[in-house]
Symmetry: C2
Subunit: 405 residues, 2 copies
DNA sequence: GCATTAATTTCACTGCTCGAAAAAACATGT
DNA sequence: ACATGTTTTTTCGAGCAGTGAAATTAATGC
């Protein structure tokens, strides 16, 4: 029986959450600004901030003298997060790289470790060990933050199970079906959350462009894989908190090109770096995909296509067609007002755009509602990190902090 | 500024809504059962039911003597909806038929009118006039219920605009882009809601099979059109309340068969009745689709296929393939645990099943998570009506009644 | 009739928000 | 230096909804 009853406690949680959320989005605010932003009365804001300050969650900032000509009246005192009360460890795992960032409760990056990943990395050392080693290393270097670790969050690629704490399949070799989330949670006595990279991209895109904060956006990653996350009017879509969009492995052409996942005809098999390379070099569609494509090789192909090379141009056309039809098919189920293209493939957006638009034009939804606005966004690391960061801090805010007695 | 603040009023609304929802789902209940079902304390249930009874929303039922051996202890007095306090008019509009039902607040059908629809129906008389005429007729026949009309809800096919109160496109001739919802609302001084048929199917499926009430279900209608609605763990998905899944017009084959919508290669162009007929009779794919297919012609084709006729069998294979790849592609974005096939095409499910399964097997999500459970459900009128009914009554419960002072 | 049992109601208490008024803290004008 | 105006915060009493525990109500069983 889901406990949906509303009582004074849920009121408290909700309104404290509102205050924390406002501070998260807008940074330090005065109590008056908080009242305006949350819609709560001044009296309530006084009570809530008073509690939060007592609990050391937030603190009054030192008034900044000098600066801007402060107007008349009593000057506002800003309150902001107390960075020391919590820390989170954020792993971003990729096919060829892993990065662990330690951030404090204020969202400030404290320390960071990068490690290469190879197809054998997780075969030789179990994922849980790999992660634990690096986390211990960061903890040793930052004892203060280590003491207040509240969450570990991991950005992964692949398909999560229905609970959202196990990977059932992943393009990263030997990562799926290893219960590293549970093991880490046990080892560090801290909740460990797995997030699909696509979903984080969607979350991150919202934070990077405030104008999109409440829009419906599909964020498509094109690079070593093809992935997608969606937001619907500011809400993250799909499987509650697990996320299940497998856009890259949506079928594009029945019995088509062989994909890394073992299926045939996936969008990824045409639009990812290895897919484009395979097409460009006229390698048979059924050839086993390359396990990894060096960045410069992909960039070289983009350069060749931009220089007019026929084979390269053709390969990107095919890729654009795959992405375009994928979007067109997705839009039959969910139609966003904006589409972001991020990742290395964003640099090739110009080469794919015509085919993408052509494919979208064949969708009824687009004919009726108009084409979504499609924008390429070159950097993709920032959205993922930002998404992971904000999602994790928000989780702490709403689950741990707002519920504090 | 969205008013998300929680106060005693929102608590009241939420908990009253819980009580109304429990009664809606489970029928008349005792106060003790309400407490168990909602999670509220007995004291609160006493207060809430007291208010609701004072407001004539619910009433105590006469104790049913005789029946089952009532145990010891004070006998429970059930409370149930007061049917007289509201009524709703429900239109179901189809390509060849329109039906208007008048129901009371208890969900009991009071009266019903059916009218044929032809491609010229809405050309000769504006939709608003067509609807208003029939509604007036029902009101005249049922003056008591007419006095308490609270909502008009219309089930339509097509694409709604973003506000959800206008049709931007519809397979029903001359129905799109006519502001009949606004006109009706003005004429009858009552809120008028448009609902996509696919979404109602999803809603209705939940109500018909309580086991699915909290599952993730995709309900696919196959018949004169192909449509789909989805629920995610009991929540209706897609564009908030407007609904935008255009499954039938998801592209199946680029540049494929001509669809009624004017696009090419839509799933509908292969899997709807006209599509199957076209394939079976080897009519060129680019031939203009028949405006309507008589029921017996479609049924005849099913019979022929079941008897082993090659052309007919082939046509249903092609249809199954279209539906299967559509589902497979949808599942890259949203993967339900159950798929319902409803509508006339459900009778041909056996003929399509193999191709549907084959197509699904080519989806990575299915390989990893297993195939969803696919079930055909012959009757489709009931789910639509039930969905429209429950959605509308729930709307009244939550918006009008729960918010009463 | 009286004990037993189960459904409902009553009652005292808690915790939250809110509006209005008061207090605080600073700028400006005389 | 001091009164006045402005803006931010806090204080205070009221109101409201939920809760647990105890009391009440209405049957059954012996």
């Amino acid at each position: 029986m889901a406990r949906n009853v509303s009582d004074s406690d849920s009121v408290r949680r909700q309104n404290r959450g509102l205050v924390l959320g406002a501070l998260r989005v807008q940074g330090p605010l005065s109590r008056t600004a908080l009242a305006a932003s949350t819609g709560l009365s001044h009296a309530s804001i006084t009570a809530i901030t008073h509690d939060l300050i007592n609990q050391q969650v937030i603190a009054e900032l030192e008034p900044q003298e000098k600066s801007d000509a402060r107007g008349r009246g009593r000057p506002a005192t800003l309150v902001g997060f107390n960075r020391q009360i919590g820390a989170a460890a954020l792993f971003e795992v990729d096919v060829n790289r892993a990065r662990l960032s330690l951030v404090d409760y204020g969202g400030i990056l404290v320390d960071r470790i990068e490690s290469p990943v190879t197809p054998t990395t997780f075969a030789s050392s179990p994922p849980a060990v790999f992660f634990a080693e690096r986390l211990r290393q960061l903890q040793a270097r930052n004892p203060v933050e280590a003491a207040s670790l509240r969450r570990v969050a991991i950005s992964v690629q692949g398909i999560l199970d229905r609970d959202g704490d196990g990977l059932k399949w992943s393009p990263i070799a030997h990562l799926a079906n290893r219960p590293f989330a549970h093991e880490l949670a046990a080892a560090f006595a801290v909740p460990v959350a797995l997030h699909k990279r696509g979903r984080l991209l969607a979350e991150g895109a919202r934070w990077l462009d405030p104008a999109l904060h409440d829009a419906s956006v599909a964020t498509v990653f094109v690079g070593s894989t093809v992935a997608m996350g969606m937001t619907f009017r500011g809400q993250i879509m799909g499987r509650g908190d697990e996320g299940a969009t497998e856009f890259g492995h949506m079928n594009h052409l029945p019995n088509g090109a062989l994909c890394r996942c073992g299926m045939r005809g996936c969008i990824e098999a045409y639009a990812s770096d290895y897919g484009v390379l395979r097409t460009a070099y006229s390698v048979p569609e059924t050839a086993t995909p390359a396990p990894a494509v060096p960045q410069q090789e992909y960039d070289g192909l983009i350069a060749r296509a931009e220089a007019g090379d026929r084979a390269a141009t053709h390969a990107f056309n095919i890729a654009g067609r795959a992405v375009g039809f994928g979007l067109s098919r997705m839009m039959a189920v969910f139609d966003p007002s904006h589409v972001f293209i991020v990742g290395p493939g964003a640099r090739a957006f110009g080469l794919m755009q015509a085919e993408i638009n052509a494919a979208l034009a064949s969708a009824l939804v687009c004919r009726v509602n108009g084409l979504p606005q499609i924008v390429a966004h070159h950097d993709e690391k920032e959205p993922i990190f930002k998404g992971l960061l904000m999602k994790t801090l928000n989780e702490i805010d709403q689950s741990d902090i707002a519920a504090l007695a």
